[in-house]
């Protein structure tokens, strides 16, 4: 298993409960994938060839982080220049989703650390000279977004979280919230799109302080 134990959060619990790694054999998914692949080949579509391989009866291990690193190399940049992972999440109140225009939902969501901010590991923040509330820039080869920093202990040192996600609001109130958005830095790329048609909300990014707390 090419993971450190810490990197696979289910593992300690499975050991504790005496559970075996066991998944159901999904013959139907396998067959659907074969049929879909055959039909697409007949029709001359080749752009989905990699994705259709994911219709597996039992999932194989994939080097998902490696896909993103390779995408950087393919774009002609040095992965070392983008050493952090950026991911997204929703607040429990969905305050940056369907409730984005509701002041009350935004107000109660702000009781939770990280709402409307860029969450990063406290030790990483210290190393980069970033204090709580500082303005930070998250940059990838395709774009950049800014927000206020929220250093916390409960996050990996190599990862930042941008709660929210949607950066194209026209909604009154929501458009003035000044949220950072992962959309600006994640690439639309077929190579990073899975068989469900979803691009994962992940990006390799660089992180720096651009201003003090306001």
């Amino acid at each position: 298993m090419p993971f450190r134990r810490l990197d696979w959060y289910l593992h300690p619990t499975m050991v504790e409960q005496g559970l075996r790694y066991e998944l159901p054999y999904q013959e139907r998914l396998f067959r659907v994938g074969k049929e879909l692949g055959a039909r697409m080949t007949e029709a001359g579509h080749t752009w989905w060839t990699e994705q259709v391989k994911e219709y597996e009866a039992i999932p194989r291990w994939h080097d998902f982080p490696g896909f993103w690193v390779q995408a950087l190399r393919d774009a002609g940049v040095d992965p070392g220049d983008y050493p952090f992972w950026a991911v997204s999440t929703k607040s429990m109140q969905y305050s940056a989703g369907n409730n984005a225009g509701i002041q009350l939902m935004h107000e109660v969501a702000e009781n939770l650390r990280g709402t409307g901010r860029i969450v990063l590991n406290a030790e990483t923040a210290r190393r980069l000279g970033i204090a709580a509330g500082d303005r930070v820039e998250v940059r990838s080869p395709v774009g950049a977004t800014e927000g206020r920093a929220e250093p916390v202990e409960g996050i990996r040192p190599d990862t930042v979280v941008i709660p929210g996600q949607f950066g194209h609001w026209a909604t009154p109130y929501a458009k003035d919230l000044d949220y950072a958005t992962l959309n600006t830095v994640s690439a639309m790329s077929l190579a990073l799109t899975d068989s469900t048609g979803s691009g994962a909300d992940v990006a390799r990014i660089a992180l720096r302080k651009v201003g003090g707390a306001r």
């Binding site: 002041q103 107000e107 109660v108 040192p157």
Partner: protein, 218 residues
């Protein structure tokens, strides 16, 4: 006698702030004022970290610091333990807010609306001028308690006589009731679980108990 208390089970609270929102609806508090709120705390250092959600608000202390410092007698403690503020008497000096070990009090001087200069229709309908320029805080939904009692209902048992935050809690983390009744849910929870009170060393005898583990067996 009756002594109303709140019990919050820290093992059950998920920090969703539904109680916060319910309180704001029930009491029509203006933006930025939260009589009930849930703190988001973190204990430990990476990678050994726990996240902790702690509901808080006025703790309705047995020996309230706010009552002690109030120069106008606006803040007082009822015989059932609920600490209330008489807005007609309050002079807005804010001594109580400074004395409170729980950061539970708010003062709003100007009308404040959710979306800019003008109130929405619901805000206009529920605007309460008597709350301007005075101190305000959680009342344990005293209006619900009193109107419920008048109809023969039991606070903490019947939702109509129980604080809005308790009714709204999605995980059953919050329980309200009479600590002087040995058969009440709050008395049973405190018997069966280990508990603590926040800032106990301030010596104000808060009526807000936090559960964190089962009581050790005999």
């Amino acid at each position: 006698m009756t002594r109303y208390v709140m019990v919050a089970d820290l093992r059950r609270c998920v920090g969703c702030q539904t109680c916060t929102a319910a309180c704001k609806h029930a009491n029509a508090t203006v933006p930025g004022v939260q009589w009930r709120r849930v703190l988001d705390m973190e204990v430990g250092q990476y990678p050994d970290v726990q996240r902790l959600f702690v509901p808080t608000g006025c703790q309705h202390c047995q020996a309230p610091a706010c009552v002690e410092v109030c120069p106008s007698t606006a803040t007082r403690k009822r015989p059932d333990g609920v600490v209330v503020i008489d807005y007609d008497i309050c002079i807005g000096c804010d001594y109580c807010a400074l004395s409170c070990p729980y950061d539970a009090r708010y003062k709003v001087d100007e009308p404040t609306w959710a979306f800019g200069d003008q109130p929405t229709a619901p805000e206009a309908a529920r605007f309460d001028k008597s709350k301007l320029g005075v101190t305000q805080k959680c009342t344990f939904c005293v209006d619900r308690i009193d109107s419920g009692l008048a109809r023969g209902l039991t606070p903490g048992v019947d939702p109509e006589a129980t604080p809005a935050c308790v009714n709204a809690c999605i995980s059953g983390a919050m329980t309200f009731g009479d600590l002087d009744d040995p058969d009440s849910a709050v008395s049973r929870l405190l018997r069966e679980n280990r508990h603590f009170r926040m800032n106990e060393d301030a010596g104000t005898g808060p009526s807000f108990f936090y559960l964190w583990d089962k009581e050790a067996g005999p």
